[in-house]
Symmetry: C2
Subunit: 344 residues, 2 copies
Amino acid sequence: MSERPIIAVDAMGGDFGPSVLIPGALEASRTDDLKVLLVGDTERIKAVLATTDTKGADYDIVQADEVVLMNERPADVLRRKKKSSIQIGCNLVREKAADAVVSAGHSGAAVACGMFTIGRLHGVERPALCTILPTEKTPVVLLDAGANVDCRPYHLFQFGLMGDAFARDILNYESPRVSILSIGEEEGKGNSQVKEAYELLKMAKNLNFVGNAEGRDIYTGDKDVVVCDGFVGNIVVKTSEGLAMSLTNMLKKVFMSGALPMLGALLAKGAFKKFRRTIDYAEYGGAPLLGLKNLAIVCHGRSNSLAITNAVRMAGTFVRKQTVSKLAETILANEELTRFSRAL
Amino acid sequence: MSERPIIAVDAMGGDFGPSVLIPGALEASRTDDLKVLLVGDTERIKAVLATTDTKGADYDIVQADEVVLMNERPADVLRRKKKSSIQIGCNLVREKAADAVVSAGHSGAAVACGMFTIGRLHGVERPALCTILPTEKTPVVLLDAGANVDCRPYHLFQFGLMGDAFARDILNYESPRVSILSIGEEEGKGNSQVKEAYELLKMAKNLNFVGNAEGRDIYTGDKDVVVCDGFVGNIVVKTSEGLAMSLTNMLKKVFMSGALPMLGALLAKGAFKKFRRTIDYAEYGGAPLLGLKNLAIVCHGRSNSLAITNAVRMAGTFVRKQTVSKLAETILANEELTRFSRAL
């Protein structure tokens, strides 16, 4: 695709709303040569644009009459909120008026709209939410992070294939070390679902499957892709977020407990800032929902402008590199194995 | 029980062996008025005792001819290593020569020997490994941490009951806030197993069930007991360990990156030490295997002397308070509900 990618951005979602989302989207347009479609209430979008530097950014506004509330059930949004910003964003992708959509709104609704409005890629059983986590070395890709709560072994198998394609194409890993999350290093450890998925991953074509990963292996940087079901993945991601936050709070408390530590903290301020940046999810943008006909990226509700910019940038790269066709290829190459397992 | 509790200690297990385990056990005997039985190779134990301060400690040596290797399968240890230190430790408990057993050896083998040699408490479907984790406030109890990989809803239900009894009796929580780990706060969120267990917990007698906990709630200190299956629990505990370790390494790296941060770190040395102590698992001893006729405590392989001391102390408290009878009571009080769910 030599044309400039067009990315639809849900301008209404997120904890901080349009005033944070719109500058983030415009910045990506400016630096990465993309066009962004700002989807939402035209009046509110115009109000933000009036006080935002729009120079060098290529954008259009697409009206959305409805807003999704955080307590709505995803299925209800899908059925009843046809004019919500996330639905209209997904419609734009389905009708090829946009190449991808980015949302920081209701994640469950975004996943549901992505799955049903954009639709699954041929051969994909279940699209998976793919989180990029910082490690001591290079980032690791964990999927599924919450789109599929009850999974079958061949779902996990396809998550491995999609994670591999993503890590190759978007993170530029040459031969990603793909692993499956379990409770022991050795083959044969795990629950029945994981043990069966292990067998499939071992037989997969063109996959550097390195076996089980334990919880403690996620953040060392020695695996590139970690596969799990959406229940486990969601718990891993949220436990990690919570622990990092709590550790920071506990550290702050001890530093505030005396004059000497406080002076130490002051001197080390730059180091702390650097540290926080290393573990800041905003650096990684959002979580792509892999396995759709075109890309949807689901961002954290707490996303700041930088996170939106990076998510829109990732969407642009995804479109330019035609990562969807590579996903389709690896799914197709392993179709027999999937079908075999599904028939069991 | 007014008599002095007798705790069998597997003196051969753990990464650091007898020279760390034995001083730890003796210290608990000394400070908490307990008798310890040091189980293992008599010659090696005597060699350690010759260079250890034994003053004020009450101990005996119990010979064990065999040693469990880390790569052995738990079932094989159970069947073939009848004379291993962990098996003999559990035998001592079964034969009432000891009131409880503590091991830092092969965890899988310790769980298997605990379950089959000591045996389950009447009415308990599955014993659960109970981890105590530090939080921003008071410690939280998470179970099962890995004893049961594939669980049914009534197993999770009983984990909640046992976690509650433990938190009341050993952690002195008046009305523990018992929660179930899931992927959303609201009732109805989760996989099918969790949703069913939720219903049971809601109906339990004498239980302060507060609903779902998300991953991010574990470390805030707003829940006292978190219930999950052993697969999820093991992954949560190991992910947390790994993340805490990796964050520490990353923090060290940024502090070593310049003279100013290094000076800052030096000034804050005491604060860091205090922080490390807050999150040090050694403070919490080991993980009790709840639901046996008598207690087994499974310690981390990396346990230092302090961890062993605290584990043996916890075992002593457990015996003195007769926590096992309280576990039996709550299991019995909720027997109908368990039976009903099992029949579904």
